[in-house]
Symmetry: C2
Amino acid sequence: MFEAAKLQRKVSKSDFKQQEVDLRTELLAMQRELKESGKSRIIVIITGVEGAGKGEVVNRLNEWMDARGIATYAFWQESDEERDHPRFWRFWRNLPGSGEIAIFFGGWYQKLIEERVLGNWDDERLSAEFRRIAGIERMLSEDGALILKFWYHMSEKDQRKRLKDLSRDDRSRWKMLPKKKQFSQHYEDYERIAERLIRHTDYGFAPWYIVEASDNRYRDLTTARTLLTVARKHMALRQNNCQINSEDNPNAEPDAPLSAEAQTTILDRIDLSKGLDRDDYRKQLEALQEEANELVWEAYNRKLATVLVFEGWDAGGKGGAIRRFTSAIDARLYRYISIAAPNDEEREHQYLWRFWRHVPAAGRVSIFDRSWYGRVLVERVEGFASEHEWRRAYNEINDFEGQLIDNGALVLKFWLHIDKDEQLRRFKEREKIPYKAHKITEEDWRNREKWDEYKHAVNEMVVRTSTNLAPWIIVPGNDKKYARVEVLRQICSHLKAHLKTHK
Amino acid sequence: MFEAAKLQRKVSKSDFKQQEVDLRTELLAMQRELKESGKSRIIVIITGVEGAGKGEVVNRLNEWMDARGIATYAFWQESDEERDHPRFWRFWRNLPGSGEIAIFFGGWYQKLIEERVLGNWDDERLSAEFRRIAGIERMLSEDGALILKFWYHMSEKDQRKRLKDLSRDDRSRWKMLPKKKQFSQHYEDYERIAERLIRHTDYGFAPWYIVEASDNRYRDLTTARTLLTVARKHMALRQNNCQINSEDNPNAEPDAPLSAEAQTTILDRIDLSKGLDRDDYRKQLEALQEEANELVWEAYNRKLATVLVFEGWDAGGKGGAIRRFTSAIDARLYRYISIAAPNDEEREHQYLWRFWRHVPAAGRVSIFDRSWYGRVLVERVEGFASEHEWRRAYNEINDFEGQLIDNGALVLKFWLHIDKDEQLRRFKEREKIPYKAHKITEEDWRNREKWDEYKHAVNEMVVRTSTNLAPWIIVPGNDKKYARVEVLRQICSHLKAHLKTHK
């Protein structure tokens, strides 16, 4: 989920200066319009990891906008009076009126994160709070409020550095940090709680925006641009008295600034130079295949199912990687399912119906060569699914995979990644070889033209569906040997870990 | 919640015969239309208490409709194959295609109820299942399916009688029943679980219909009429490609047959002949006031808040009943809040905002003379709130009261009930007495004309918002003395029980 918040996205000083003036003008215009229409109100919730500069963002928003229409509230300590009332009373007291903007520092999420990190609240208690929050956010949004929730994030390394810098000015902060050797553990715990929280409270009517916070300029511009874009969409809907559909995510990704470095996607950061020589390849392949065979048998005996999903660029090497795995394991244990366009009967049902048919029984392996992710890839890019359909598919897919996992299955998702040049080389090569020529069609060439759209779709797919329990694994595939071994290695290591945790 | 399923609603044999023919014709026409449009599908889920005749309903639906477009599935026992897959796999296998109807006997709810009754699953597990079910029902409905969920219910007495009758033909059934003295406990447990289940899985896109099952004719006609009405609305929406808003309840109440006895409401069953003579009144009043005073002080010391809501017909005696309570307790401990039309500031916020301001602090009492229930009473009947607004208010109100209860508060809601003649008598009396004349306005006379609409709104309000934890108490008010004593008695007994459970 946080993959896209660790890409070192940046905005240069000059780009910032250039974009700042327009942005401020537009923000003020938006605020005026909000005031005048009197049909909506905006609640901005600011949360994120320690050291992300949440306070700086709030100051920036106050600086850029008209302070008369904004009120900022921090919810650190409860007053006596607040403690004597239900938890949400303090928020109700400070809700913005029509035409106003309220910035809630930490919002109703602060307490959840703190109590969970401290171990005072368990997962069940958290679930109950998620339900409550859903009810309240839905109610406020039905009443015309726009609720924007920002989560500021950065890589462990960047956070460590940032906190060290901060500690120079402020000694007390430093004391709050866990000891150095515990830092990684703390970071991981925090990230896991945040993933759960965001996943369970991300609604169309109150979406989360995960913003990378390692560069201040990127962070602030992204926040303000997102606020601007979403507020405008929201006001246009309210102006037409449209009911905002609760599943419609007005703008699922934050609106990054218009500079190249700020537009980096997850795929751009993959190191495609990785390779393997023939000898190493043979040796490692053999060892891994042997291990895979044993692990799959053990999973069978233990009645644990495995679901492997393969997606990737055309000619990315999915088939070759799958064969290196299937040739190693007993044919009775797996099913290979190649997914093409749905047939008539499949079209009569919800799009997940045809995948449910191939869900593995306990102990078995299902290998999907393309999958339900078609909904948010080809169907999105080609317009076969409406925006409403593919947007809500992220949650549907997470629910679907969640059910498999709850039933004991291991779920792994591979994206076989190559660059555009490598694809061209492979297309041409295939066209030359008679028995491979059928693999290249007009469609492949057409898809290739939409490379950037697909890249964008892949980025959002990974952000929205890569979870602790069902991760996306992006495999550098320019070198086929490296990719095949890497796929096997990942299957083995995840399967081993899975067998361990499901004693 | 189940109050309206214990009213002994009936349909006579002749009424049944008369309505049956038309209904069947219309059902067949609906089915044809469903088939031809091919834009939706219908899933009917049949659940309810033991002995409610669920099997008979299913047979009736199959008899009345064209069997070629319906498939019925019972989900009693799992096959080996089903056990080897995730729980929902068996349902996915049997989902209806476009234009078809599937009847799911027990549906995905059967297992929840059984496991909870047997004590195998706890409330947390149940909550997780509710979330899952919400996801699946939302997904299917987004894809064009209409999901209708019926819960068949009857009073404890009727159920006991029914099961006894059944046991004559079927000896094995009898053995499954709990021993006589445990029957009441079993009935209550079952009802509590059902209330929780229905409350948490009642969505606009997949509403629950609670149908009284004590009379077979009423039960079957109501089921079929509801199916017909809701299916038609649904198809009309789909035909126009309208997005169905997830909070919009297409038809929150089952569609009762057109005979007088079938249209009975909760208020019609209240015994208004109850009275109290002056001496008894004085004696009881004094004792109860003394008790109330002590209990309120104890609640203060224990920091438990109390919320009392008074609603009722104009001139129903709310004010008098409230004064008998307030005159007994320390003025520092309570606040009396009289609710009129919202002011300008209040109108700028969500409608619950103005009530949040008056939520009692720990240990205090807030008395609401009229309340947030105006949303589903006067605002509904007078059209001040749109249907979408007042329909979603039921859930919003339940959430709101749930927060108060979670914070330790006792929440009681009184409806002061009188009949139309008594109201007229009181109106005229008031007009004669100078210092009371101001209490009767044009508006009161106008409201009076809408008596039946209000009665209907009260019925639905009680069904949707009376819960184990925040019950509606309907007080017969034709005799003022009886009503005042009864209100006090209820406050005392609930407060006493509340203090006991919150040690």
